[in-house]
């Protein structure tokens, strides 16, 4: 047998087609996003004579969808671990109102409010994660009650009223922009430099991973694919950056998004706890028997979700410039939909951070585009629902092939 190990004839170096086929899912959603953007660019131009890719609209896109993307990062971990968190919309409302009370009523400075509210978010997440992780109460139920409890607490704190407005310092969390260090501002040189640098960094990291792989004698994706992808992505990044630079510069929120996304990509792909969450979602018993502390990991995913929901809560409050009793209602559905559109599996163990981000962007672009076209909220919901279904059908079909 030793002499015959290569008995099953393996396919040698991967062909281009095979490679793209193998990564259909990852590239598929990205292509869907590009297609949707192209679609709206054309339709909105023809029908309403509006520039969909205008600097202002791109800025709006990020400001409007930042909270969904931020929470999708946390939700992805929860779902990969085999759970769900229905309470995030209510946590957004509650943390927003706590932030409002601290800032507006008690006059705390933003620098003290932000960490305090993040900490309360952590506590809300921990309070739910505790029952899920250590008592094995189904997360659906725990977070469903969390959803009710936190919403009720929001109304109680706000006493049915809005609290606002926020001071400038707090608002800048959502509506602030990075000032131009070069003092030119039209276009914003800082923005262009930052974006160009990050595009270069991305390509360099990709290239380094490739080179190191080759060092270990590992078969790589075809060089053409690598450069094509790098080119498309950096072109898109620089285009967006340039547009933003010619308007008001990089929104603070975008920086938060970029940093958080990078951190979570690194966490899920390159760190041991991230890897373990996938293992736990794939087969909890086997993970446990491999020495993994599965319940602590589950607990962690909920704590993390709580912190991110609190961050989203503050951004939403800052954007509306007031805390309202209904803030965040229904957000959980957008967030969960984004994660599933991005390719995560209901049964756990499968899903990628970038997938969830792309999923959230697809939803966001559709919201934005359909609003510009003046499509009613009724149709919008129908269409979004169908997109979710389609994306998952695409997945299931892909698997059964």
């Amino acid at each position: 047998m030793t002499a015959e190990t290569s008995g099953t004839p393996a396919v040698g170096g991967k062909s281009l087609g095979a490679h793209i086929g193998g990564h259909l899912r990852e590239n598929g959603m990205l292509m869907a996003l590009v297609a949707i953007v192209a679609f709206f660019t054309v339709v909105v131009r023809v029908a309403d004579n509006v520039d969909f890719l205008s600097a202002q609209n791109i800025t709006n896109l990020f400001l409007q969808n930042s909270y969904v993307i931020i929470m999708a990062l946390g939700m992805l971990l929860v779902i990969v671990a085999g759970h769900i968190d229905l309470s995030v919309g209510s946590v957004v409302g509650l943390t927003g109102s706590i932030a409002a009370v601290l800032t507006v009523k008690l006059g705390w400075p933003a620098l003290a409010v932000v960490p305090t509210v993040l900490l309360t978010g952590l506590l809300f997440g921990a309070a739910q994660g505790y029952w899920v992780a250590f008592w094995r109460v189904p997360s659906f139920i725990v977070t469903l009650s969390g959803m009710l409890v936190f919403r009720g607490l929001t109304r109680w704190i706000l006493n049915g009223q809005n609290i606002g407005p926020f001071p400038k310092s707090f608002q800048s969390l959502s509506t602030g922009f990075i000032p131009d260090a070069f003092g030119i501002n039209q276009p914003n040189i800082t923005a262009i430099v930052l974006v160009a640098l990050s595009a270069a960094l991305m390509v360099w990291l990709g290239w380094r991973a490739r080179a190191r792989g080759a060092e270990f004698g590992i078969v790589q994706e075809p060089l053409g694919v690598f450069w094509a992808r790098s080119l498309i992505i950096s072109a898109a990044v620089i285009f967006v950056g340039y547009k933003l630079a010619s308007f008001r510069g990089l929104p603070n929120v975008l920086i938060i998004l970029a940093v958080l996304t990078s951190v979570f990509v690194f966490f899920t792909e390159n760190m041991t706890p991230g890897r373990r969450i996938y293992a736990l979602g794939g087969n909890e018993k086997a993970a446990k028997l491999s020495g993994i502390k599965t319940n602590w990991l589950v607990f962690f995913t909920f704590c993390n979700m709580g912190v991110l929901a609190a961050l989203a809560g503050m951004i939403v409050a800052a954007r509306l410039n007031s805390a309202t009793p209904g803030a965040g209602t229904g957000f959980e559905l957008d967030v969960i939909a984004a994660v599933f559109i991005g390719g995560a599996s209901m049964s756990g163990g499968v899903g990628k951070i970038l997938g969830a981000v792309v999923g959230a962007l697809i939803l966001g672009v559709m919201n934005n585009g359909m609003s510009i076209m003046g499509i009613g909220i009724d149709y919008q919901q129908v269409i979004k629902g169908l997109v979710l279904l389609l994306a998952v059908i695409f997945d299931v079909y892909n698997k059964s092939r």
Binding site: M1, T2, A3, E4, T5, G7, T8, P9, A10, V11, A18, G22, A209, R212, G213, E215, F216, I218, V219, E269, N270, M271, T272, P273, R275, R276, Y278, A279, G282, N283, K285, A286, A287, K288, L289, S290, G291, I292, K293, G349, V350
Partner: protein, 522 residues
């Protein structure tokens, strides 16, 4: 076919079957002819393509997804799904049991095939038929018994009853005895012969050559996805089968080894474990054993003797409740109360249930291999993907795991190769004492030899190896010492020199008698 001097007619002919998975050519121009009324055995190494061939035949892989032609009962067979093949009387019992544990025997027997009119199930008739079918396979359980209450042996018989409920003409059994105890296997083989008398043609896949010689009329050997030979069972020796399977002669079933046994490495004393749900039930009763450096120690016993429970309760208290007793490793008391601590203390446990306890099936081989020792491929919590892949490649080579790439999902591997992945995982964890629970279940002769070789290497490095096995010849061939367990107790200990199948059985039986006597006194 008078000129052949036999009254046989051909029931099935598979011609030039090829099947390709992404990156793997699982079958390459395979031919198989099965005569009506015979028991036809298929042998071959792990990953040779046996299960795949049977899945092609039974419509799991529909017509069009493979190349080649199937002629069944004189007509071309083009199944779109399992239902099509079942209509023709071709029933497959898969390598993994496919019963619904929480449903009753009767419900399972007629699942998808319910005795119903207009969607309303006729339970009295179903129960009656169930009883008749159970009798045919030699069971007397009430039809309402939940399947989870039955042992694996009986579950396997239920699978056969389920096939009989469907008017079977060609019955395919994919490793039916892999998980069975000796006497359960015998029962199953007897049943196969009985069915043959009733005119049911059968195909059996098995790695147990003695069983094949017992029941099979003809044997087809598959290697690397192609047919090597079809032979009359009466005319060939086990050695010949092995040679055709492995592609070379194998002089010994067990690799040579000169044991170099040192001081006591693992010592377990006064080990007691209670059943996780039934509070009164003690599963392990005051067990004590030890393993020395460089020693391979066997644990023999019947199914349900408590061997797996003993091992799992030691390994991080993964089984049972109120676990008590002491473990010392290398002379120092060891804390094994969680799996992580047990691993740190130098223990590893290779589970007998690789699918549900050993592997993350949807993850690639490489991630499965490093899972229990991520520290070994990371620094400050940051993984080194390249190192990880290198580790996986090394184990793939060392254990001859058959796969086009270490990025293949574990679920796509053949049973034997999955076992090697689980084994790799624990070898990479670098344990002092490795506990192997049925390590060669469902594994071909060649791969068994390799796994034995790995065990010997571990022992030669001064580690301790504990081997739990239901196959006595394997224990006798490999172990320096054998403990015998029965009903949660260690009832005896035999050195290599004194051990024999008869002695082990005698100890088991004596253990039961003691129990009975005590019961009468109490």
């Amino acid at each position: 076919m008078v000129f052949r001097g036999e009254r046989m007619t051909t029931l099935l002919e598979m011609r030039g079957i090829s099947k390709v998975f992404p990156g793997v050519r699982a079958l390459d121009n395979v031919n198989l002819t099965v005569e009506a009324g015979e028991i036809h055995a298929i042998c071959g190494e792990n990953g040779a393509g046996k299960s795949t061939l049977m899945k092609v035949l039974s419509g799991v892989y529909p017509h069009g997804s493979y190349e080649g032609e199937i002629v069944y009962d004189g007509a071309t067979l083009a199944c779109r799904n399992i239902r099509d093949s079942e209509e023709k009387g071709i029933i497959i019992i898969h390598q993994e049991l496919a019963l619904v544990p929480l449903l009753s025997i009767a419900e399972n027997l007629f699942l998808g095939n319910e005795i119903a009119k207009g969607g309303v199930i006729n339970w009295p008739e179903a129960y009656q038929k169930t009883e008749a079918l159970l009798k045919k396979v030699g069971l007397s359980e009430p039809p309402a018994t939940k399947v989870e209450k039955l042992g694996v042996g009986k579950q396997q018989l239920i699978e056969i009853a389920k096939a009989l409920a469907k008017d079977v003409r060609l019955l395919i059994l994919d490793e039916p005895t892999a998980a069975l105890q000796e006497n359960d296997s015998q029962k199953l083989l007897d049943l196969m012969l009985e069915l043959q008398n009733q005119g049911v043609t059968q195909i059996i896949i098995s790695h147990k050559l003695n069983e094949i010689s017992r029941v099979a009329d003809r044997i087809t050997i598959i290697r690397d996805g192609g047919t090597v030979s079809t032979l009359k069972a009466s005319e060939i020796s086990e050695e010949r089968i092995i040679r055709d399977m492995v592609g070379r002669d194998m002089a010994h079933r067990y690799p040579e080894r000169v044991p170099k046994i040192g001081e006591v490495l693992l010592e377990v004393r006064d080990w007691n474990v209670w059943h996780p749900e039934q509070k009164q039930r003690q599963m392990i009763k005051g067990a004590a054993f030890n393993v020395r450096r460089g020693e391979i120690v066997g644990i023999a016993g019947l199914m349900g003797a408590g061997r797996t429970e003993l091992a799992m309760s030691i390994f991080g208290h993964s089984y049972g409740r109120d676990v008590s007793g002491s473990v010392t490793i290398g002379g120092k008391p060891a804390d094994t109360s969680t799996v992580a601590r047990a691993i740190d203390a130098g223990l590893a446990y290779v589970t007998e249930d690789r699918k549900s306890l050993g592997l993350i099936l949807e993850e690639p081989i490489v991630r499965n291999i490093t899972l229990a020792n991520l520290f070994g491929v990371s620094k400050n919590g940051v993984l080194n993907h390249h190192r990880e892949q290198k580790v996986a490649e090394d184990y793939r080579r060392a254990l001859a795991i058959r796969t086009p790439s270490v990025f293949q999902k574990a679920v796509n591997l053949s049973g034997g190769n999955q076992q090697k992945v689980v084994l790799s995982k624990w070898l990479f964890a670098d344990p002092q004492v490795l506990i192997l629970d049925e390590p060669t279940r469902g594994i071909d002769v060649g791969a068994k030899f390799e796994i034995y070789g790995i065990m010997n290497d571990l022992a030669a490095q001064g580690r301790g190896v504990v081997m739990i096995s239901s196959e006595m010849p394997e224990l006798l061939g490999m172990c320096d010492r054998i403990y015998v367990m029965n009903e949660g107790r260690i009832v005896g200990e035999l050195s290599k020199a004194e051990a024999s199948q008869e002695k082990i059985m005698a100890l088991i039986l004596k253990g039961s008698e003691v129990k009975v006597e005590q019961g009468m006194v109490a």
